[in-house]
Amino acid sequence: MFQLSCENLVLGYEGRVVINNLSFRVTAGDYLCIVGENGSGKTTLMKTILGLKTAMSGHIELGPDITTKDFGYLPQQISAQQDFPATVKEVVLSGCLNHSGLRPFYTKADRQLAETSMVKLSISGIASHRFAELSGGQQQRALLARALCATQKILLLDEPVSGLDMKTTADTYDIVAELNKEGTTIIMISHDINMAVQYASHILYVIGPEAVYFGSTKDFLSSNVAANLSPGGKGF
């Protein structure tokens, strides 16, 4: 069953169109990688799906059992300032907010969920550390744990490995693949096409405003787009 469907989306800012007439569907359990050059509108697309930006035209439809509360989000950058006083635990727990309604306090189940998420991402050892003092990789893990507290259904990740070293990058990809195996739908922005074809089930390749490829990874690999991209034009 589809969870997210975009039809004839036109995206842009200040009147400039960056993606024109984009249509695609995401089904439960998919691992969709959005790839493309910097400035091609990948982040704009993700923010539009999340309701942080409005599309210039077109429709975004959520599946019958999906609401905005079923989205987890790992932003590329956090707007919070460098000396923000917040422990890892406080940050992770704040992910539970979207299903706590008007209840002023977190429940035992919320705290348990935060604990489980931190264990899953092996950050329970640094739960009482200040978030701002962590390394880039540890911050990403904390933010991913927060996203897992918000939902297990759909995770949207905006360049989760930018600025990470090779080992941490590989770890992050493994964690995301593991989550996908457990049934979480993944929508991830990446500029690493090699990684994308290795992990993703679907590829959305933004080549230019008028040229977007969308299809399964298998189809993508046998397409002209992939042939033109790979070194020597021989395909991956």
Binding site: K69, G72, D83, A86, T87, E90, G95, L97, P104, A150
Partner: protein
């Protein structure tokens, strides 16, 4: 001897009122300060208090008996406008605050100067700006209003504590995961306006930012969790306000400035403590 002297002063109800209202208002201001400072809205207190000053000038010219009835709604509207201006407009948030701040301050003084019949205009303006004795001359009804609103502010902060944290730390994430951020931001704006109008009685228009900023920034020298910083800011604010009021009564100094001086002193003490703790 000083204790004896204080005992005598505490016989007077206006001294007790001043302490109760002062502590409650300072407490509310420091609570909101946590989210304002961390969202880089430190100066909104300043801007809003100038708005309140302008409105008060109009109220006094119109001879309204209870100026708070006009001050509150106008300040609330400005708070909502300013906080929502932060994103998506051509005029940047800090420029908007500066414009509204000086604009209303100047207009307020202009109106008072032209239309007020009172002979002691300079004294009136000085009192409003620096709150020199206002806190000691509160009427009973003003005391009840202040206590009521302060308790409301504190209650709202406690009930929405988790929401305030999430929105302060990362508003985008909250929006993306389906939290009704708009409503919570609206509530925060209204509560901020409430605190500003209340705090004008305590320290006056020009010094309100001190109540908002000093406790939080001081607490951040020592603590690294949001909860600890909030609790510490509240305690810091209560202690510096009590000290400020007591010293001003004994030494005959202006209340507002003495409280702010205590805030400044406390900040330096916390800086030193933070320095030694990091070294140790």
């Amino acid at each position: 001897m000083i204790i004896e002297q204080l005992k005598i002063y505490f016989e007077y109800p206006f001294v007790r009122y001043a302490l109760i209202v002062g502590v409650l208002v300072a407490l509310s201001a420091s609570l909101l300060g946590v989210t304002l400072v961390l969202k880089r809205f430190s100066f909104i207190g300043d801007g809003l208090s100038h708005v309140a000053f302008g409105v008060m000038a109009i109220a006094s010219v119109l001879k309204l008996t209870n100026s708070i009835l006009l001050m509150l709604p106008v300040t609330i509207i400005c708070a909502v406008l300013l906080l929502s201006l932060g994103s998506g407009t051509k005029i940047q948030g800090d420029a908007a605050i500066a414009m509204i701040s000086v604009g209303t301050l100047a207009t307020g003084y202009l109106i008072m100067n032209r239309f007020a019949k009172n002979s002691n205009l300079a004294g009136d303006v000085c009192t409003t700006l620096f709150g020199s004795t206002k806190i000691l001359t509160l009427s009973q009804i003003e005391v009840y209003i202040s206590i009521g609103f302060s308790i409301l502010v504190i209650a709202v902060f406690l009930v929405f504590y988790n929401k305030v944290f999430a929105i302060t730390f990362d508003e985008d994430f909250a929006v993306a995961t389906g939290v009704n951020v708009k409503v919570y931001n609206l509530i925060i704006s209204i509560v901020i306006a409430l605190v500003i109008v209340l705090a004008m009685n305590l320290v006056g228009t020009l010094l309100i930012s001190a109540l908002v900023v000093f406790p939080v920034v001081s607490a951040m020298r020592l603590f690294k969790s949001f909860k600890a910083v909030t609790v510490c800011a509240v305690i810091f604010s209560i202690i510096s306000t009590i000290l400020g009021i007591l010293i001003s009564i004994i030494a005959g100094t202006p209340v507002g400035s003495t409280i702010v001086a205590m805030d400044v002193l406390g900040f330096f003490v916390f800086c030193l403590l933070g320095f030694f703790i990091r070294k140790a």
